[in-house]
Symmetry: D2
Subunit: 350 residues, 4 copies
């Protein structure tokens, strides 16, 4: 199989670098184009970027000449890690020109015809792109904190009917990009605020778990209350979660349900699909971001301390790798699923 040429938008940023790192030696995709701001344009990537990853720049990518959003791109699939300040109109322009924009940016997530995809959960939402007013399409993944909550709520909602959710996050600094959080603000400290994060967490999961009815989304009807905190952790968002259900499950039923959770990526054995999308831990003090974020290559939601809640029904700890499954890795799995479902070959028709 010949590799599919892809471009990375926002290639010099934190998410862009993560895309490039994760796509090295990818069996489907090959990074052949890079787009960044005009400051970087015309330079070899190696010189344009302030590389922050713990692996070296892939040889062939380092030599690519950086383009701007004015340049025409050859690749059909574009991975977007663009800043929210510019992603809005830029991603639309690419979609109009026929590209599939697989975006990690927040700008279009809540657009009526743009799906927020978690392929194990709602790959039927890919159908929404047919209603998009573009020759191509925009496909998003959720916010990094929503991701792990939504992955866990999905099978539980299906099985028991989720009604109310309290979630308190302890989020890693890598979620804020670079330079992001100043060390003087976070060393040995907790910042009990992340701009816009609680609002995202309180509405995205309902869209992801929405039912499609006659091409319309009917948001899942549960209510979420989120407290978002930043902690001195590099990678890995941890969440303390309490859930009220319509049909009360036992702790054991919750564990079984989470462990049994699988979807299209597992069925089709996609390259970035974790074997086990949800890992359930039995140790009393796990999962932990520093120890568990890289389990299953950072593509699983890790869950532990599943127990009774004195106020709601079940409480638990949820954790996942915010820049892999919570960002770049999620977008890559979305693109793999898009390809596997045949959307690429037949344009937007399945």
């Amino acid at each position: 199989m010949e590799k599919i040429s892809v471009a990375v938008l926002g290639a010099t940023g934190t998410v862009g670098q993560k895309f490039i790192t994760l796509l090295e030696n990818h069996p489907f995709f090959e990074v052949r184009e890079l787009v960044a701001s005009s400051r970087s344009a015309g330079k070899p990537y190696r010189e344009a970027v302030s590389w922050k990853q713990d692996r070296f720049i892939p040889e062939t990518v380092g030599d690519l000449i950086v383009k701007t959003t004015d340049d025409k791109l050859e690749s059909r699939i574009l991975f977007s890690g663009m800043d929210a300040e510019v992603a809005g109109p830029a991603e639309e322009a690419y979609a109009e020109r026929g590209h599939f924009v697989i975006s990690n940016s927040k700008n279009h997530r809540m657009d009526k015809t743009v799906p927020i995809i978690i392929p194990e959960v709602n790959s039927d939402h890919f159908e929404m792109i047919k209603a998009q007013p573009y020759k191509g399409a925009i496909i998003t993944n959720s916010n990094c904190s929503t991701m792990f909550l939504a992955m866990v709520l999905a099978p539980l909602h299906k099985a028991f009917g989720v009604e109310k959710v309290f979630v308190t996050t302890m989020q890693a600094v890598s979620g804020a990009g670079y330079p992001g959080v100043a060390s003087m603000d976070i060393l040995g400290n907790v910042i009990p605020f992340i701009g816009g994060e609680e609002a995202k967490m309180e509405c995205e999961a309902q869209k992801i778990l929405a039912e499609m009815k006659d091409g319309e989304l009917i948001p899942a009807p549960f209510v979420i209350s989120a407290h978002c905190n930043r902690v001195p952790v590099f990678d890995g968002h941890t969440e303390s979660v309490s859930i009220l259900f319509k049909n009360k499950p036992t702790v054991d039923r919750v564990k079984e349900t989470l462990r049994a959770f699988k979807g299209i990526p597992q069925e089709k054995q996609l390259p970035f699909a974790p074997k086990q999308p949800i890992l359930v831990f039995e140790e009393e003090n796990r999962p932990q971001p520093a120890r568990d974020a890289w389990k299953e290559n950072g593509m699983s939601a890790c869950v532990g301390r599943i127990r009774q809640c004195p106020l709601f029904d079940i409480k638990m700890t949820v954790m996942g790798h915010n820049t892999v499954r919570g960002a770049a890795g999620a977008a890559i799995l979305n693109a793999e699923t898009l390809v596997a479902l045949g959307y690429l070959n037949e344009g937007k028709a399945k």
Copy 2:
């Protein structure tokens, strides 16, 4: 006024060292006796202790010869920072011999006749000691995480009737004593578990806010669900809190109520009384442990981000200094109140 002689029990431990540090130059009390394990006994404190505080050992304390629990003590007031493994029978024995044991240990907190005192909240509970079967008495302060939650719930419960509380803690390593948490477990990490902590948080506040009726405590009738996490912070426990009230208050009424909160320590201007027991912050990202734990000398509960909760009524961030107001400082304020209310002079009669 001549100073009152006091002893520190568990003098070489973390809490014991904190007692000694905080009591230096105290206007009421002077540390004249120290008790530790037999390993330290007979040595000058300076040689017995592995001193970890950021101030030097007070000159006079360093020269004291360490005693054991077998030795008779002259002091009427004993500050106990004993390990839970030994505090149970040892504190009882001291109380039987007529001492007032002001204890930071968990062992006797839930005893029927032992009060958990927060002097601004329930100084009427001091009366319980009359029912104690000892010549002296045992008086406790709450667990460090409960402390700040209970301080905040107290005026709100009185004004609006608390019904349900969700709390997720992000606790400092100093709460685990020394050596406590291994650095390999917590550097850049979150541990979503602290042994026994959630159970304590779910029941202590109800006892502290209990009404006394005919010498009996009627626990406050609200339900608490706690998630306890350890984070890489040195001092200062942070808590994300959501509260459901009987009588729904506005955000502004909550702020006013917290700011107006005062009690006997403020009235009597006790040395360790914070001017403002609850500090309300208006900045969107405060309080923070590294920046705010030492406000009012570490004796206040700091509250911020008071806002509507989509599920309950009000949510907020609560934070305080776990080894000062949450431990040694709390015990000292308890002792000051005991003296101010006249219990010491007249034995256990007021």
Copy 3:
């Protein structure tokens, strides 16, 4: 004694905030004027600043209206925490207008007639200001890393003749100001580079320990090699130091010499003078930044592990509070000494 009015230049920055915090209730000085960039000008300080200190803004300072460098100042003494980008010409302009600029900025440190003062070491260098081409004067303190090295070398050089010095620093993030070092760069990491720092450390101490001969400085003749590293510490620079001497001292003689070190600030009992400018520790694992930086209110150099060096003569660990004795506190002590020596009353004549 009526308080002397002072201004803080660069008042909204990290060093400016530290000046304001440290000068609260100062017995000599009162902050009555604040200067910052035009963005802040005209606003009450409380609104102009993003306050990052762990104490509240002093009441009276919060209400001051921020001025710009274009405004005329009433105060004779100006504490400068200006950014290096603007401090150069701005400080000169103030000095020309007759102000005493007590500067923490690097810009004028190596000027021929500008002294780098450590009052315990070289208060005779104040005489240099008479040769300055200004109606007023510019007086600097050293770089924060140089400070503690120079304080330690001073008495040792006098007693034994320093010839060669190796120093490796492990510097706190607060030394880089705000926002300074990104958390993604320093959490659980070491950055083996601080721009310009090694060059400063390799030349400033020789100027501070210079002999004055006929109004000229003859730099101390030793050679320093510096390795500068950033570590995840909030406050307190630690330095591993090896020294080669002309006259070989024993370890005990070194300790005695450091402990005996005193100067004009101690003699005149100035408010910011540490009783003991150099604290010598006997514990094998001290000094440590998190435990010892605040000893003597952050105004002492802490020294420990004094021992034989297999290559040079003596090796040791040196540590001090980089934003107190290493920056704002140093400038305040310089100003106190200036006043105590009578320079202020008689203009630049002593």
Copy 4:
């Protein structure tokens, strides 16, 4: 090729766990026996160990029943991560019974006939084992801090003659094992002392770089002065190094020499051999432990900031992964070399 059965001694400890993790799917070796203290003996490893690695326990290893030092072992190669308290006589006993003990413990490193091997540097020292009074042999790797210094000094000494070395370390907490350093001692702190570490660093490199003459080692004649510090880093020791040479090289010659360095492991393409044993960085602020420790799978020494030293000739930053190339990985590479050189097949005769 059939896999060689190996045992891990001290299997439940930090180094033992690392051996097991690194040996998963090793092309030469298979872990078939585990030895730990009597407390663990008789249990399946899965139940005996408090597993702290970020990967799951390899399936087959988890089921192994833990043995004690009293049990006879089948494996010829034993990887020892035993505590120094017990490793001394235990390792000797195994060697006497004919095993090849590949030890990471310090106990026998300075024994006259025991080599400290870095296969790229001194694989001729394997010959020393013939003089050992055992049927089998003991082979050690160096202390973790010595490792990276020795790897860098080796080619430079050969080319230019090393005479004097100053080294200041900033060491990761994983070097102290588990529980090791208390979080209260190291969060936001530097500990300027590591017991016994400076002594090891000042003598091991000379033995590693010793010339073999008539079966005797003539230690390399340079002198090292070491300052050892602990910093809040998880993995990766950083070292600031200044070197005085007999024949003064330029900075460029030093870089070339380091980059050209290769040895037997590279020649024989051993599984754990890094392609490039020394990685030279050109960025001004690299190498850094959090970013670079895992380069080349943690098996390379990383070097950067190679520049002139005002006192000696050259200074630089050296960094490497202390628990991989600095411990378990080093031992595995030693064993691979042992096998590749044929010592295993022919007993101790080459």
